[in-house]
């Protein structure tokens, strides 16, 4: 099995930053991939499959984070996670986080 490595740097666009709900959505999506997923912000490198770890980044709107995946499905993982973050974390009803910002 190939040890593919992919990464992308993205900006957090949703006004509330990476609070608990987006952190949960990110970790949930990351957990569907078998690749190891890490998120890097400044000098912090954390496990992208852990809600608690993502929250420790304290990533506010405008923060830059790098998503790194290592493993057989790294390319798909980075593509989907980047899509999730750059879409502003739409919730189940299709609203963006900015529209449903009370949580």
């Amino acid at each position: 099995m190939t040890e593919e490595k992919q990464s992308a740097t993205i900006t957090i666009i949703n006004p509330q930053g990476l609070h608990m709900r987006p952190a949960y959505l990110f970790a949930e999506m990351a957990s569907r991939f078998s690749s190891r997923i890490e998120v890097v912000k400044d000098d912090m490198r954390i496990d992208g499959k852990s809600v608690l770890s993502i929250l420790t980044l304290g990533a506010t709107q405008g923060s830059q984070v790098a998503v790194e995946a290592t493993g057989p499905d790294a390319e798909a993982a980075v593509a989907e996670l980047v899509q999730l973050v750059t879409s502003g974390f739409p919730d189940e009803s299709g609203k963006t986080e900015a529209e449903a910002s009370h949580f």
Partner: protein, 158 residues
Amino acid sequence: MKFCNFVKSEAIKVDLDATTKEGVIRELIHSLIASGSLTAEQEEPIVQAIMKREELGSTGIGRGIAVPHTKHSSVGQPVGTVGVSRQGVDFQSLDGEKVQLFFLLISPPDRPGDHLRALENISKQLQDDTFCRFLKQSKTANDVRQILEEADNNQFVS
């Protein structure tokens, strides 16, 4: 943001009586009301808002810990408290385990940075197993106060 900036120490509660998710949230809100951090009129809207947030996905993040929270315009600054349950409460947590340790947080909607910094601090400290174990073993509210104070002084995580 340190614990002392949002945890109302007079509202810390060990030996929670409630055995349900809503019951625990209500008990912690009652404790905040009794300590003068919230008014009785705020109880119902805030409990409803926290329960609505729980419907989007449990804030039971695993390892016996939950962080029920909401943003609510009736508070002007982050208001939080800590609760410990001996028997544990079914919180539909990610790992299916009962929750013994609760960090409840209510933040003003117009200050997302403060909310994030409070969550950041809670999550950083909760990654330390000793911190979690000490809190779960706390016998009195004063024990909890001391542990939070030590955490604020960086005695658990560097």
